[in-house]
Symmetry: C2
DNA sequence: AGTGAAAATTTCACTCG
DNA sequence: CGAGTGAAATTTTCACT
C-alpha cells in the first residue's frame, strides 16, 4: 500500500503541513513534480485527509479543555450524538466500545460554561467529565510500515 | 488578544493549513505581506503551534484505534507517563482530573498487538481500554471570540 | 519519474498613514 | 508600527521526454 517514499512524505507532512513540496522532494530524493504527484494520489486515496493548524486554544480564550465519557440511555445514542454535534464547543466526538458510549472533547470558557454544557448532555445519559490538565504527548505519528 | 482578522486567519488555516497566504489575504481583505506578518506573529505568540496533515491511520495499516483511561497506582504516574511516551503507537496522552489519571490515544495493528501494549501499562495501574468505532465529529474549531 | 520553462506565490525593501 | 506596493526570489505547475 504505502512504500518507503510515501511513508516519508506522510511523515514530513505530518510534522509540518506547510513544508514546500520542493523540500519534501529533496528529503525523499525525488523531483518536485514526482512528489506533487504522489501527494495528489495520497489525497485521492484518502490516506491524507486534510491539513490543519494546531492551535493553543487556551491562548484563544478557552481556559478549560475537557473530555466527556458519555454512556447514553438505551436507544438514545443517536439523539446524544446529534446534541453533541450541535455544540460548537465540541471539537471531536467518537463512538467507542462499551454500550452506547461516546468520547467527546470540548473547550469551555469557564466552569459555569462547562457545567451548562454538561447539563444538556445529561438528558441523554450518564456523563463522566474529565478536565484535561496537561498534554504529555503532543500529536504524533505512529510508525508507518505495512506494505 | 485576537481581533476579527486574526480569528478569520486562524479559522482558514485550521480548515486548510496549506492554503496560500495570498488566498487568506483575499478572504480577510488584507494584502499578502500583511497576512504573512500576522501569521508570523501568531506563531511567535504560540497561538499557532504548528501545521499537521490529517491522516487515515486505518488506511495506513492500523485497523485498531483505541483509547486508554489509565488510573495509576500511587506515586506511579510519572513512571506510567514515561512508559506511555516510549510507546510509538501512542499518538497522544493527556493528564486529566481524577487521581493519577491519564487519557491515551493509540493505534494498533491487531487485537493481539493492542493486548500486548495494554499489558505493559497494566504494570502501572488500572487500564480501561476503549476501541474507537467511529469518528462522529471530525477535528473542528470551537468559536473564537474573546478579545 | 525527470527536465526545463511558465505561472503562481512568497518574500523583501520601501513608502504611506 | 501595521499595512500596501512592486520587484526579486522561490515554489508550483505544466508540457514533454
Amino acid at each position: 500500500m504505502l512504500d518507503k517514499l510515501d511513508q516519508k512524505i506522510i511523515s514530513l507532512l505530518h510534522q509540518n503541513a506547510r513544508i514546500a513540496y520542493k523540500e519534501v522532494a529533496a528529503q525523499v530524493g525525488l523531483s518536485a513534480p514526482a512528489v506533487t504527484e504522489r501527494i495528489a494520489r495520497l489525497q485521492e486515496r484518502g490516506i491524507i485527509r486534510g491539513y490543519h493548524a494546531e492551535l493553543d486554544f487556551l491562548a484563544c480564550g478557552y481556559p478549560l479543555e475537557a473530555v466527556w465519557l458519555v454512556r447514553t440511555h438505551h436507544q438514545q445514542l443517536f439523539a446524544a450524538i446529534d446534541l453533541v454535534k450541535s455544540l460548537p464547543e465540541v471539537v471531536s466526538c467518537d463512538t467507542v466500545t462499551g454500550e452506547n458510549c461516546l468520547l467527546v472533547r470540548l473547550f469551555a470558557t469557564s466552569v459555569a460554561h462547562l457545567d451548562q454544557l454538561t447539563y444538556q448532555v445529561l438528558a441523554y445519559g450518564e456523563v463522566n467529565t474529565m478536565i484535561v490538565k496537561q498534554h504529555v504527548v503532543s500529536p504524533r505519528l505512529p510508525p508507518l510500515q505495512q506494505p
